[in-house]
Symmetry: D2
Subunit: 112 residues, 4 copies
């Protein structure tokens, strides 16, 4: 991964961490808890967030210039997912991963 910058590598790491937190939380914690944790709007958001993070990481690994627009969208969905995790409660690990990923993706999206 020679031509990939330090900041991009860091963002790939944050995206894959957030992907793990989202899919892992949804498919274990949320399904086991049930109730508000499997409400469609919440569950869709956390799964959509996981998929966006997985894809943002992939486009950065491909070294495609299109990763910036994807990172911008990823940052938005991560922010929403973090807020939603706070609202649902008992989802701190996922909310924190989303906030870190959003910050990292915003930085990448803002590059010249």
């Amino acid at each position: 991964m020679h031509q990939i910058s330090h900041d991009t590598r860091h963002c790939i790491e944050e995206c894959l961490r957030c992907y793990q937190a989202c899919v892992g939380s949804a498919m274990t914690h949320c399904l086991e808890q049930g109730g508000i944790h499997v409400e469609p709007q919440h569950f869709r958001l956390i799964m959509a967030c996981g998929e966006m993070c997985r894809t943002s990481a992939h486009l950065m690994l491909i070294n495609s210039p299109h990763h910036k627009a994807v990172c911008r969208e990823c940052a938005e969905i991560c922010e929403l997912c973090a807020h939603n995790c706070d609202r649902i409660g008992d989802m701190q690990e996922c909310a924190e991963a989303c906030r870190r990923c959003a910050e990292s993706c915003q930085k990448i999206a803002a590059y010249e």
Copy 2:
């Protein structure tokens, strides 16, 4: 897939068709041809296009409201990939799939 509209189902189909054309063309035709077909800029674009199409389809299947922004980005990358396939030559199947997918994604992205 009861709550998914006819237009969205159609767009999912076009995205998965374009994904197949991009990844299939890159990993068989382009690799076998070599030369201009494996030039980094072209190869990255076709693989990035395939990934965006795969992800747009996934977000529509999740029924997430975020699919619109992803479809908008997908349409842009599909247009670029179609032009690039024309430039490279001998990539008509892929170029056509990209144009159809771009048109379908633009329609979804433009919905109220």
Copy 3:
């Protein structure tokens, strides 16, 4: 997709159809219905089945010889998912897509 055989192309289609049925059913029908439809064992199986189908299609598009072992595993998980959809009820579309995909994957896995 010049070097991809007719049977392989057909299997890619069935895998992507089953992927759509699994993820689409889980994220719309099952989440909306709730109750037995979001029981962890069922929901994990349908999401795992969708992911296996997506990946089997991808390995066939890559034209990798490893697709056979992946198709064998995909056929097994599709069979289980079909049975589970029958058990849950009201999941005929998904069950049928799983059965067709399993049959197609078994054929690919059995090739010399």
Copy 4:
């Protein structure tokens, strides 16, 4: 990710590391180097290995019992990819990530 065991978490990490090494090396190093680095058999293997690692991680995050068969197949393809990276040369980072991932996946596949 409460119910996911320590060994499984470790394997998810190794899979995502190997996925990054494979896709990152293929799409930057191999495409830039050209020649033997874009020979179809090598390039397909490294991309297939990346996809298998990505999927193994996903099935472990889903907490599906099917991850074991997928990890077994992932270990095999990682071993082959490591050997092939040694043969091609100048791919040590990727070869090492493949070997570590293979070891971790074998351990998961061998669990009772």
